[in-house]
Symmetry: C2
Subunit: 344 residues, 2 copies
């Protein structure tokens, strides 16, 4: 009961293995009748191509890799990654590509994983997540000539392909909305310093606030965890009369933590404090009041990245692809500030 091979099919059909290969792969070189017969036999005996044999004879590994470099405690809690992966996966499955996943401790380990995957010919290409300012992984991948798509950018990606969205525009929309509601003291709880999109948002925040004449615009760095979100919020809200009336959080988890802190300090949301979460997720609608958030289709983002990577593997010349700009979804956590209403 060994697994059937093309030799078995060839014997049954009375043709050569070469002919079987042509028939199975839809190549010219066999008559329609023969092809039909071969396909029927393959079907009947339950043949599957041995992926190792295919890969060894020069074809692709038909797998791509994703290495994730974040501590498990923040990875698990943020819906972003699973949604991204589900989008990536859907696109890959359509083309019978497998996704190989690995968690790594740091960037050096990540580069080592890429080098091994590529050396072993285990993957045909990789996704690069959590792009950093001056990211050492970019030149390493360029040097390896391993097909890669950066999820992030569009700057700092070197010659690699990328899929990105306009962080600055989304940030501006948010600040302008809060300003229109009457807020003048807006704070921002940023994500991990050093991540490119954190810096992009930070710069945009400073620029937009300056443009609107908001003096007190302050960004506080954080690490995406709920604990840090709580701690930072507590500090921001302890500033007495100078405390912000609105806070923009760089992820959903910190925004929810911030909401709990406000409630614990006796502040009403949105009356005393407006809250906006970046990257909407079902979590934002679980709490009371539901959180105003910046929404985008994350599975679609992943699917676009997968499409880019497959094109790169196919040897197409690809560059950067701009994905949808996150848009504001107003919910119950934002309103005019109490002081503004009092003054009205």
């Amino acid at each position: 009961m060994k697994r059937p091979t093309i030799a078995d099919i060839a014997r049954r059909a009375g043709v050569s293995k070469g002919a079987v290969s042509y028939a199975l792969n839809g190549q010219p070189g066999v008559s329609e009748a023969t092809r039909r017969r071969i396909l029927d036999i393959a079907e009947e005996i339950g043949w599957n191509p041995n992926s190792a044999a295919r890969a060894l004879s020069g074809a692709n590994a038909k797998a791509v890799g994703l290495a994730l470099c974040r501590p498990a405690r923040t990875l698990g809690i943020e819906p972003f990654y699973m949604e991204l992966i589900s989008g990536v996966e859907a696109e890959l499955a359509d083309r019978s590509y497998a996704l190989t996943l690995q968690f790594v401790a740091d960037q050096a380990a990540e580069v080592a994983v890429y080098r091994r995957w590529w050396g072993e010919r285990r993957v045909d290409g990789v996704f690069l997540c959590d792009l950093r300012v001056d990211d050492r992984r970019v030149p390493a991948l360029e040097e390896m000539e391993l097909p890669a798509v950066v999820i992030g950018g569009p700057t700092g990606v070197g010659r690699l392909a990328s899929v990105w969205s306009d962080e600055a525009a989304a940030l501006a929309e948010t600040v302008e909305y809060l300003t229109a509601l009457g807020h003048r003291r807006i704070a921002r709880v940023g994500g991990l310093p050093g991540l490119l999109h954190t810096e992009q948002r930070g710069e945009a925040f400073t620029a937009v606030c300056r443009g609107l004449g908001l003096a007190d615009a302050v960004t506080v760095p954080s690490d995406y965890t709920g604990e840090e979100g709580s701690r930072v919020t507590r500090r921001l809200l302890s500033a007495g009369a100078n405390r912000p009336t609105a806070v923009i959080y760089d992820n959903d988890v910190m925004a929810i933590a911030g909401l709990a802190v406000a409630q614990e300090m006796g502040l009403s949301v949105p009356g005393d404090l407006s809250i906006v979460a970046w990257d909407d997720s079902p979590l934002c609608q679980l709490v009371h009041p539901p959180l105003t958030a910046l929404s985008r289709d994350i599975p679609a983002y992943g699917a676009n990245a997968a499409r880019q990577l497959l094109a790169a593997i196919a040897g197409e010349q690809i560059t950067s692809y701009q994905d949808e700009t996150p848009h504001l979804t107003p919910r119950g956590s934002t309103a005019p500030p109490a002081t503004a209403r009092g003054a009205a």
Copy 2:
């Protein structure tokens, strides 16, 4: 600049390819001096074993598969899977095994994926998640003779290996704790019907409540989403004087949704309603009050599953492994019911 092969090493070292293979794999058949020289050369020219070639010559694929059969919207939001995967992954990486991940629409698609993976020799074994009552995947895997470890059980797993935890004991501990606090009307919001652990918990709940003489013990089925959690909670809390004073939720997401509903209905937690979440996660500590929850080390659970699978692949005779029983972590969401306190 082709990728170096053992032939290159053999040429440089002035030995045969066979000798190189023995040296590289730590097999007897070469002198220590030769082995040292060969290893040095391999290191120097940056050689990596071609995984396809290895797999083709009879060795393992050095990869295992995980197919997830849940809609992305519930997958992303539940930290459980990412934590499980991170534990699985850590164990696999230690042994240089890769993890192949695929999302599937239903059980038929999942079985088809297993069949293809195994037929292609793409994986050496698989994990089976979300075990159901009378799970059709179990006999399918048995028939394929594909090494597999069920994450769940211990019943209904046929001859497959499994890693499981004692759901009934954890449920009993929870109900006894709530009863000790003075609760008499306890409800349970269950997970997806048909999942084995949902049924195990349901049966345990009924049995324990009967044993304690709690008449009103009711289980309401759900689907793990926040929306359903809200809807069900609203219904439970609308029962007037007969409403439950404590609710046990089958996941963290529904528990948080339930908390928001209680607050929206003007009920205080834990004063008017106690809440327990099954599967503690960082989410439980993000809300106010933080949720009492059933905790366990999920990455360790995944690591144990990986260890079992690797053993099964190595041909060891393995059966079922009982993991840690989830234990109650009391936090701010549980207290004696207001009525009990009033009566005191």
